[in-house]
Amino acid sequence: MADQNVVLRRNRPGTKAENFYRWCDEAYEEMDSTLVVQQYIQQTIRLDHNNIDTILNAPETQDEGVWKYEHLRQFCMELNGLAVRLQGECQPSTCTQMTATEQWIFLCAAHKTPKECPAIDYTRHTLDGAACLLNSNKYFPSRVSIKESSVAKLGSVCRRVYRIFSHAYFHHRQIFDEFESETTLCRRFTVFVTKYNLMSRDNLIVPILEDESAGQGESEA
C-alpha cells in the first residue's frame, strides 16, 4: 500500500477484509493526531491480542488518565462482539435477571431508578450507557486530557461492564469461551482493572487468570 514514499494508512473503499488495517505500524512517537492513543492501542491489539502486557503498558510520556480512558473505550467497543453473540442466546425468558453467581442480582443503572432488567437488556443498556458517558461532552470533553473529577466515572463503568463478563461466564459458558479465545478480552480486562485499581478485587469473580489454560483446552475440544 506504499505510495512512493508516503504510507497512507487508509482503508479505502474496495479493500478486502483481509487487507483491512494492513499497513505498517507507526511508532508511538511519530503519531501525530489527537487520536494517537486510540491508534496506538488498536495497533498493538492487532499485532497480537494475547500479548496483554504490551497492550496495557503505557508509553512513557502518556498521561495515565487518558490511557485508561482510551482503553475503556476500546473495551466497550470490543464488548459489542460479546453482546452480539449473546443477543441470540440470552433471552429474557431464560435469563430474567442479571446475575452471575447466586449471590447477587445486579440492577441496571441506566434508568432513573435502578431497575431489574433481564440480562440481555442489562448488557445492552450498560454498553449504551457507557457509550453515552464516555462520549459525553460534560464528563469527557477532550480526548487528550481527562478531568480529575471524571476519573472516578471510569471505575463505575468498569464495574458494570465486568458484570457482562461474569454473566456470560456463568450462564453462557460456550459463548464466553469462544469469544475469549478470539479476543482474550476478559483476561485483558481483568489485568487492566487490577493494574489501575479501578475495581475492588472482590468483584472479580470470573476465575480467568487461573482458569486460562483450562478454558483454552475446552475451546479447542
Partner: protein
Amino acid sequence: MDEASSQNQLGGSANPAGVANRQNLEEPSQRIQYSIPGILHFIQHEWARFEMERSQWELERAELQAKIAFLNGERKGQENLKNDLVRRIKMLEYALKQERAKYHKLKYGTDLVQGDMNPPVEEGGEEVRVDPDAILSTNTNVSWKQSRHLLRQYLQEIGYTDTIIDLRSNRVRSLLGIDGGGNEENHNSTPAMNGSDTTKRMPDANRWNVTKKTPSCLEAQIQDAERAVIDNFEFLRSEGMEMDDDDEDDEPEEEDDVHRLKSPKVPKVALDVDDVDGESVDLDPDFRFLPDVEDSSPGVLGFGPGSRRVYGPGGEEDALEGLGELAQLTVTNEADATYDQISSTKENFRKTWTAKYTLRSHFDGVRALCFHPQEPTLITASEDATLKLWNLQKTVPAKKSASLDVEPVYTFRGHLGPVLCLAMSGDGDKCYSGGIDGTIRIWNIPSSNIDPYDSYDPCVVGGSLPGHTDAVWGLTYHGQRQHLLSCAADSTVRLWSTDARSPLLYTYAVEKDGIPTSVDFVYESSNQFVCSFNTANCVIFDLETGKPVTRLDTETEQGSSSISRQINRVVSHPTLPLTITGHEDRHIRFWDNNSGRLVQSMVAHLDSVTSLAVDPNGLYLLSGSHDCSIRLWQLDSKQCVQEITAHRKKFDESIFDVAFHPSKPFIASAGADALAKVFV
C-alpha cells in the same frame, strides 16, 4: 434626618388639618392621628414620590441631552453642508470670473482686470472648514463623485433605499430654502451628507447612532428602516468588529460588512460562538486581511470571507477538544486563501451552513450515515460494529458549545466487525447495512421516540442478506423499484429485492474492471446502474442484462500510480444524465451518461475525495475529503460556495461520508474521529 425634615412638613401640613373641623383637606375622613405607622407610611409615600420624580427628571435630562446631541449633530451637518456649498459657490464664482475674462479677452482683446483671480479652493477650504475631522477635504470632483457613487451603492445594499436618500435630500432642500434651481447641488450634497456621515464613521460613529436613534425628527416610515440599519450596525459594533477602516481598505472591508448584513443569521451565529471562545475572535483579524491579499474586484470576494466565517463554529468544536487543532485550522485557511476553486457567485441570497448538532456516541470512526426520508432522524454506521439511530429533536442540553449534542435513541448490534455502508429504504422503515464480514443486514427501524433504555426487541433485527464473500463497501436503495444494490470486495455487484423469499435477484461479476468501490442507480434512465472501481474505471451497466452500456472515459486521465487512480465514490444525478465521481487524486469529475465523455474535471480538495452527495433538487453537490473539509458546490457553475472544516484525523482518514436530508435543510458528515455532525 429624613424624619426631621418630613416631620417639619408633617407639622406644616398637620397644622391646617390640626385646626378643628377643617376637613376640606386631602383625606377628610382620616382624623390626623399621629401614630407611628401613619408617620412611617407618610414618609415612605413621600420618599417614593420623590424618587419617582427624580427618575423622571433623569429621564427627561437624558432625553434632552440626546436631543441636544442630535441637534448638535444636525448643526454640524448643516455647517458642513454650508461649507461645501460656500466652497462650491466660490468655485463657481471663480469659474465665472474666468469665463468673463475669457469673454472679455475674446471680445476686446485685452485682459479684464479683476481682483482675486486665485482659485479659492484650497485656502477657502481651509478657512471655511472649521471642522477638523472631515476626511473628504481634498477630494477633487471626479474622485468625489466616484466615492459618492460607491457609497450610494453600499447604502443601497444595506437597504438604505433611495427613498430615504431622497427624503433626506428633500429635508436639506427645505432647510436651505432652495428648490428647483439648485437641484444639482442639493442632489450632490445630500449624498455628500450621507457620504460624510458614513465615511466619518470612526469619529462620528457614536454621534451617528444617536442621530438615528431619536425619532423626533424622522418620519415614521424611515424609522423602521433606519432602525434595521442601526440594529445591523449596532450589533456589528457591539461584537467588536472594526468599523473604522482605513480608506484604502475600505472597499474589501465594506464588502465584508455589507455581505454579512445581507444574511444576518450567519454572523449572529458565528459571532455568538466567538463570544464563547476568545481564541476564535483573535483569528478574525487574520481572516479579514486575507481578502486584501487576493482582492481583485469586490464582487468576487462575496463569500470568501463568508466561508471563512464558518470556521468559527467548526474551529470551536475542535478548540474545545484538542489544542493541536487550532494550528491546523489556520494552516488549512492559508492554503485555501490561495486556492482557486473557492470563489463565489454574485447572488444576493445565500444560505450558509453552520454546525448545529454533534452526534457523539460511537467508539470508532463513523463510516456511513443516512437520513430518514421525512423525519429529522438519521442513522450512522461505524467501525465499532454498531449502527445508531439519532433523533435530532432530542438533544442533550449542553452549555459549553454552540452546537447541540445528541444522544442516540437506539443502537443496532449485529455486525461482527466494522460496518462500512448504509442505505435506508424509501419509506424509512428499514435500513440496510453492509460490513466487513460480508453480510448485509436488514434492520427494522424503531420509532425515533422510544426510550433508549427500553427492553430489547428482537424484531428490530430483520435478517440478513447473505451472498457476498468479502467486505461490502457500497449499498444503495432505489425507492421506486424497491431494490437494493450492493458492491463488495469480492468483485461482485448484487441486486436484491426487498421480497423476503428470494432476495437475491442478480449477481453481476465485474472483476475484469477491478474491484468495485461504489455503486449507484442511474436515476435519469430507468434500467441502469453505474459502478466505480479501484482501477479508475467507471462503467454504466444495464440492470437486466448486466452488460456494460457506457464506459466512462477515464483512461485519458494521467494516473500516477494505481492507487491514486481509484475512484472512491460515484453518484448519479437525480434528474440529469450526469454522473459524478470522487477520486483518490483529489478530483471530482463530471461525466455525461450518454456519451461517456468527461464534462468537467476539477481539483476539489487538498486530499482524496471520499464521499459525494447530491441534494434532492439536483442543484448542489456536497463533497467530503480526508483533508478534514466538506465542500458545497453549485452544480451549474461548478463553483464552491462553502467550505466547512470538520472532524479530525485518525491515521490518515478524516471524513468518510456526507449526506443531504431528502426533505429538510440538513446536511451531515461522518468522520473518523467517531463523530457525526449535522449542519443547518
